[in-house]
């Protein structure tokens, strides 16, 4: 594995290896709960908590985890943090917990988290694992908030619940429905690809 600096570890996940937009990981929550910015933020924070917690723990305990059963141990650790997050959200912000529903529990199977444990945290010191988890979590949060913003603005005419266009705005309800999730992310990827192509043309031309 190539050596990287701490800065790289932090920044990599935010954009260049953004889990949602580039690696297409963790799509399930990215699409399911992003019908408004508030839910997106809550989901992103919960995921960040689980990711940071389990990365730290995995990195700290990596010497005691036998290779053969490490995946099971990772899942156990992740599931523990998810349960903690689930209970905490339920106790502290019950309204948001209700809106996110089962998708908080489904953070367990977010491939992104398991992927970071396997690919990074299990091989690096805790400091690096923390940076990587923060970066990846931030990247996840950025993608979720982007999706949530587009969907809330078009689908409800508001941002974080604040009305943007006045009462006579006709909301595009489809955007907060499931097709809107797929279409928004699809369109976002098209824009990204278009932008990248333009960059390449600029570089080569």
């Amino acid at each position: 594995m190539k050596e990287t600096t701490g800065q790289e570890d932090l920044l990599r996940g935010i954009w260049r290896e953004n889990p949602v937009l580039i690696q297409m990981l963790g799509l399930c929550p990215a699409l399911a709960v992003t019908n408004n910015v508030e839910n997106s933020l809550a989901m992103a924070l919960a995921t960040l908590f689980v990711l940071v917690g389990s990365s730290l723990l995995v990195s700290l305990c990596k010497r005691f985890i036998p290779g053969e059963i490490r995946i099971s141990v990772y899942i156990l650790i992740i599931a523990t943090f998810v349960t903690v997050a689930d209970l905490t959200l339920q106790a502290v912000v019950p309204e948001i917990h209700k809106a996110l529903g089962a998708f908080i529990a489904l953070i367990v199977v977010n491939c992104m988290i398991l992927g970071r444990q396997e690919a990074f945290a299990s091989k690096r010191p805790p400091g690096r694992a923390l940076l990587d988890a923060l970066g990846t979590g931030a990247g996840f949060a950025i993608a979720l908030v982007m999706l949530g913003a587009v969907r809330e603005i078009l689908g409800s005419g508001s941002f974080l619940g604040v009305s943007l266009f006045g009462p006579s705005y006709e909301p595009w309800i489809v955007m907060i429905l499931p097709p809107g999730g797929f279409l928004t992310l699809g369109a976002l990827l098209l824009c990204l690809a278009w932008w990248q192509e333009r960059q390449e043309v600029k570089v080569s031309g």
């Binding site: 297409m24 036998p66 995946i71 650790i77 903690v84 209970l87 502290v92």
Partner: protein, 227 residues
């Protein structure tokens, strides 16, 4: 993609063999630690969570029973009897109802939570029913995934919701009500959702009306006998 990561992960990175004792003990240790942490957090959060749930229920019940002084949770068993508690293990067969009492201790009505399929998914609602007058007290939709801006009006449209106050079941969802008792004007463009609400209440009452009425007549008989 994701599977690739997980797949790659299943290849053992360390050549040396680990004894099964070590594996089991580390798994056991991890499991124990996880269990401990979870129980700890659960202990801390249990109280606020249950408080919130109880508060939500109390609000809903008091809304559909017009602010009773207090309410009691009772169980309607599968054979139609109403009990204050049921033996453990049979909760799922019994139906919970909430009976409201006024300050004098008179039973004023009963709130029932029920649900069924709507336009998109299950609609859950709670309604208050006064068996003495045979009229509904109110209806409140607790959960729905109906079309935003259209079907979800069953929860938000006050003109629709208020129709249930003092309506006489069995209800009927109609396009333009003629004033007959039990007629509910369906929401324009959300006929299916409106009908679902009406159907949930009708079917629920069809099942529960007789036991509830029996319970209330007994209760009033008791009251009359008491003083």
């Amino acid at each position: 993609m994701s599977e690739g990561n997980v797949q790659a992960g299943t290849l053992p990175p360390s050549p040396e063999h680990t004894s099964s004792f070590k594996m089991i003990s580390s798994l056991g240790a991890a499991g124990a630690a996880a269990g401990l942490l979870i129980v700890l957090v659960f202990g801390v959060t249990k109280e606020p969570i249950e408080r919130y749930k109880a508060e939500v229920l109390r609000l809903a019940v008091s809304e559909v029973l017009n602010d009773p002084a207090r309410y009691e949770t009772l169980y309607v068993t599968s054979d139609g009897a109403i009990e204050a508690s049921v033996p453990a293990g049979t909760e799922s067969e019994a139906k919970k109802i909430y009976v409201g009492f006024d300050a004098d201790g008179h039973a004023t009505g009963v709130a029932v939570k029920d649900g069924a399929a709507g336009f998109q998914d299950i609609i859950t609602l709670i309604y208050g029913f006064d068996p003495t007058s045979g009229k509904l007290l109110a209806m409140k939709v607790l959960e729905n995934k109906e079309t935003p801006g259209l079907g979800d009006a069953i929860e938000k449209d006050l003109a629709f919701v208020s129709q249930f106050e003092q309506a006489t079941p069995p209800l009927a969802a109609v396009k333009r009500s003629t004033g007959a008792p039990g007629e509910i004007d369906a929401i324009t463009g959300a006929t299916i959702s409106s009908r679902a609400v009406v159907r949930i209440i009708n079917e629920s009452l069809a099942r529960l009306r007789a036991p509830i009425e029996a319970y209330f007549s007994q209760a009033s008989a008791r009251e009359e006998a008491l003083p």
